[in-house]
Symmetry: C2
Subunit: 300 residues, 2 copies
């Protein structure tokens, strides 16, 4: 504790984790950060954080640990691996698992953490890097009231929308999964629509403006459309993220014997884009795949 | 002319045409209406309109003719068929073609009408029946300045957003087609997402509320989601409309050798729903198809 605030740790200082850690530092929390990239750790020290080499080091004095790694395997390693959080975390540490992972993993993780005496929150986040930086993420959370009450001020430092969706870990990840189903389909649909429009001779900026004010609009069309219209594929969120996230949806559908034709079709576009070498470009670069197949020239 | 206002005619008093005609009557226009359903004509007379048996009758004294039929074939018949508009319309009558039709048809139609001395506007509309009733449609229009200037006050009586997208007929229909691509994919995605969420044990109303505030949101998710969450399939817009509209998109893709995997997948869902007897239900009833395939019970 410092200034009556709990000490926090953030494992993984990627775009979302960095934003969370920076928001916590700004809000006056003693914040430990862990990343495998030395230059990021130096930057974090310069920004007022405490750089740590391992999750175990960061968790030793933390009341709340945010796990902002990329997927289930990294979450597993950060928590239960060598030099992982569980080696040092005190009982009743709140463990906030923020990666998008298969709901079945999140559910099982919650049970395992509770068995170890931790207070787990299944807490996938949404909103993108820009919102993360300003402390305005959305958290789709589920966990015990005790965990939420203990973490509340810290959660409020990183997020403006905090959904408490139930007490059982897994609910948050299920809601996030459904969100990603829609987000992924909408990004691919944005690419399909804008490239067809260009193929039809329409001005992409005009088309974008009209659709944004019409029934074809989506959050993703409004957000990713300008990337295509302006030919800017700086990776705010990469193609490979949706290979992963729609893969999670597809896996959950397969496990439940629930056909998901649009999910499978959108996933196939991201996989093809990744196979074409676009995996680390912005997810809107799936438009390049459409443009190539349709022999259309995209804005540059 | 009456009160310095041009006389107008509306061919087709379905949900959108009725809304347009009612808005024109309300705005003080002498409005002739045509429909094949006698009871609709009686209702239109009672509402202050002039009921006409044929397009030719309605167009005889009209300065502006709105064609609000369902598709290209009906547009063709209403204009060029027996007792069609072209039999009686005076030169320089503005012909506002509002049905969603293949862009190639709309382009050709514009040329044919111009050859006959008419002032055509390619003017697909959007916004739904409720907005139509209150005079708040969106018009995605293209046509000559002369046509737009002559029709302007009447267009403003039925629409709050009037896009003038260019001088050539076909542009309006191309933009509308792209809008329908997105709208159709988003409706099917809404059904896929909400039914998977139910299969995963999530509360559909909670899921709907969270997604509406997240990156997975779309205009269609927000608008059609409640139909599924509340189990209300009153047909504001029917499944078969999207069999038609996505069929137009698919046809344009095929003609341009432009692959449209999401469009084809969504179209397939609407076709399957229609084949299962749901064609005249609300387009959100595509969720029933998903529920059946996934063995899920929808809200009722």
């Amino acid at each position: 504790m410092i200034n009556n605030k709990p000490s926090v740790a953030v494992i993984g200082l990627g775009s979302m984790g960095w934003g969370a850690a920076a928001s916590l530092v700004r809000a006056g929390y003693e914040t430990r950060g862990v990343d495998i990239r030395e230059e990021i750790l130096q930057k974090f020290s310069a920004a007022g954080g405490i750089a740590c080499k391992t999750p175990a080091d960061a968790a030793r004095d933390a009341d709340i640990v945010f796990v902002f790694v990329v997927n289930d395997a990294q979450t597993e390693t950060a928590l239960f691996g060598e030099n992982g959080v569980l080696e040092t975390a005190a009982p009743e540490t709140v463990i906030v698992a923020c990666a998008t992972t298969p709901p079945a993993f999140a559910e099982e993780l919650g049970k395992r953490l509770a068995d170890k005496g931790m207070l787990p929150i299944d807490a996938p986040v949404s909103g993108g890097a820009a919102k993360a930086l300003t402390g305005e993420m959305t958290i789709m959370g589920s966990g015990s009231n005790e965990a939420f009450e203990k973490a509340k001020p810290a959660l409020e430092a990183i997020a403006t929308k905090i959904y408490r969706l139930g007490e059982d870990p897994g609910i948050g990840s299920r809601v996030k999964m459904i969100n990603q189903l829609l987000a992924g389909v909408h990004i691919a649909a944005t690419a399909e629509a804008l490239t067809l429009g260009i193929a039809q001779g329409l001005d992409p900026k005009m088309l974008y403006d009209v659709i944004c004010a019409s029934a074809g609009a989506s959050w993703m069309f409004e957000n990713r459309g300008p990337h295509i219209v302006e030919g800017n594929y700086t990776p705010y969120s990469a193609v490979d993220i949706f290979v992963k996230d729609l893969g999670i949806v597809s896996g959950a559908g397969a496990a439940a014997n629930f056909p998901l034709p649009l999910t499978e079709t959108a996933l196939d576009q991201f996989k093809q884009a990744s196979a074409a070498g676009l995996g680390r470009e912005d997810d809107a670069a799936v438009a390049k795949l459409y443009a190539q197949r349709g022999n259309v020239k995209l804005p540059e």
